[in-house]
Amino acid sequence: MNLYEYQGKALYRKFGVPTPEGYVAFKPEDIKDVTKDVVIKAQVLTGGRGKSGGVKFASTRDEAMEKAKEILAMEIKGHKVRAVLVEEKLKIEKEYYLSILIDRSTRAPLIMASPDGGVEIESVPDERIFKYRVNPEIGVQPFVGRALSKKMGFSGDLAKQFTKILINLYRMFREYDAELVEINPLVLSEGKLIAADSKVVIDSDSLYRHKDLEENAEEKTPLELEANKAGYAFVELDGNVGVIANGAGLTMATLDTLLLYGLKPRNFLDLGGTDSVDITKNAFTYVLKANPEAILVNIFGGVTKCDTVAQGIIAAKESFNIDMPIVVRLSGVHEEEGRKMLADAGIHAFADMRHAIEKLKEIMEGSQ
């Protein structure tokens, strides 16, 4: 789950990582008196807000309210602005970069730090990004901060500040089950290192143990949210073939195959467990809401009984009055009974994926 900047910064403060002074405003009236220049930042779950006009400055309360009103009405790259963060305007002497994420290849947390922080960080060459692989059994001890400080060009008090930030950020990363914590830029302002921005991603599988975090609506369509709630992995795509399959890998392979055959999937739907008539039947609800022109079901049963799956498909066809073509690939335990049941109900059924998709192509081309 992505956190908004203001939520991420609240965690930073909790763990002793310095942030600018400020507060979040959900409406222009929330703006307080302005005693020194402020920056007003759109709170939105996407990058590039600066370039889209989502960051503005103000010197008076009236000006701040007006700017906040403008920003709150914005949509940035299709994302609604939830709130604005009003912060003291910092005197920035230099911008650094600091992040911790889980590196899949080394199966360890990886710290990345660069003296060249800021919006162009992705084009900074590798030799200017210092990486440190954390051994989770050791954690981040002060020596890691000293070693990285040296590479970053920090000495004396700044090295101490940096080390403290690093240790605290790692503590937060572990305690809050983060996939990523990123500070870009980490700024040097009047002798202090301050996290001027925050990007925090919390592992969704661990949210059950972080009840203090407000759940952010995920970046999903209403139909996706509805299907996910019912237990289906579901993603809307822009084609016209509704897809129901089991297992993420097989579902992905089904979409790939459709595209290679010149057919366009309307969705990704992974049934997960297929051991029930209802799970199979209800999956059609969401696919039908996406208005496809045909439906492909690709089930490699494994231990699932194919007659159960067939019953679910037939029940869906009958109770939802589906008259568009349905092509089914059904393989697994009791597969012959399953396919016979489908054929008797007027549904095309095949033992392998290739013939099912070829049949679907034939039908869809014939109907044009």
Binding site: Y97, S99, L101, E182, M252, A253, D256, V303
Partner: protein, 288 residues
């Protein structure tokens, strides 16, 4: 010889009285696996498929177990895995999905520094046709043979194993590494074992988009693998996934896409099949 487990491996099942644990223990026994005990706290004294159930892993040690299959719900996986490793169980297979990432990190870190092997989390397990099975792969698709399969997914693995069997290619070992971001084994680890395995003559890798495990496997194959390798990559049609801040882009530097993986494999002399059912044909070109 076989990889990680064989016909003598004594397996316990943590969570054996649950729906998954009980059903799959039965299937494993039918396949010939030696399931010696089960563990469910509070259910000690029961029997499941004639297998004795205990309250703790410690109590199962009288059966001298070598491996455990963990089927407990995600919030309890870390506890179960550490209970097994603390009691000296060498191979820990985690079936459970949605295990918190940092729990997986702790489990895998400990395992790697103390000589344990972790399979999963969130994978279908390991099958050695004719010898044993620890996991949930369907029994009927396998045939004993010389092709080893390693995969990052579940059902797609069955699809490909099934295609191999139907085309006369039996399997030496089939392993699902797990679909999570942190897994106990990656392609490089398993390639090392397959290369050494006398029963394995050819290797099939089933990868998917995300991460750089396939690119690393390709590099490893170039230098260290003499056996023929073919591959399939799922997800070439997938829209770009969620961005992991700038950090995600810095660390992958353009790798991780299906294109990058296919290119890396091709450069390592690995045939990449366009469709899952073309794996046997791809194998025919480089093997027999």
């Amino acid at each position: 010889m076989s990889v990680i487990v064989d016909e003598n491996t004594k397996i316990i099942v943590q969570g054996i009285t649950g729906h998954q644990g009980s059903f799959h223990s039965g299937e494993m026994i039918k396949f010939g696996a030696k399931v010696v005990a089960g563990v469910t706290p509070g259910k000690g004294g029961m029997k499941v498929h004639d297998v004795p159930v205990y309250d703790t892993v410690e109590e199962t040690l009288v059966h001298e177990p070598d491996a455990t299959m963990i089927t407990v719900p995600a919030p309890f996986v870390k506890d179960a895995a550490f209970e097994a490793m603390y009691n000296g169980i060498r191979v820990v297979y985690i079936l459970t999905e949605k295990v918190p990432l940092h729990d997986a990190l702790d489990i895998v870190t400990y395992a790697r520094s103390h000589g344990h092997v972790v399979i999963g989390p969130n994978g279908p397990g390991i099958t050695v046709p004719g010898k044993t099975k620890m996991g949930i792969m369907p029994n009927h698709i396998f045939k004993k043979g010389t092709v080893a399969v390693a995969s990052r997914s579940g059902t797609l693995t069955y699809e490909i194993v099934n295609a191999l069997t139907l085309n006369g290619y039996g399997q030496s070992t089939v392993i699902g590494l797990g679909g999570d971001r942190i897994t106990g084994l990656n392609f490089v680890d398993i390639l090392e074992l397959f290369e050494k395995d006398e029963d394995t003559e050819a290797i099939v890798l089933v990868g998917e988009i995300g991460g750089t495990a396939e690119e690393e496997a390709a590099e490893y194959i170039k230098k260290n693998v003499s056996k023929p390798v073919v591959a399939y990559i799922a997800g070439r049609s997938a829209p770009p996934g969620k961005r992991m801040g700038h950090a995600g882009a810095i660390i992958t530097r353009g790798k991780g896409t299906a294109e990058s993986k296919i290119k890396a494999f091709n450069e390592a002399g690995v045939q990449v099949a366009e469709f899952p059912w073309e794996i046997p044909q791809a194998l025919k070109k480089v093997y027999k």
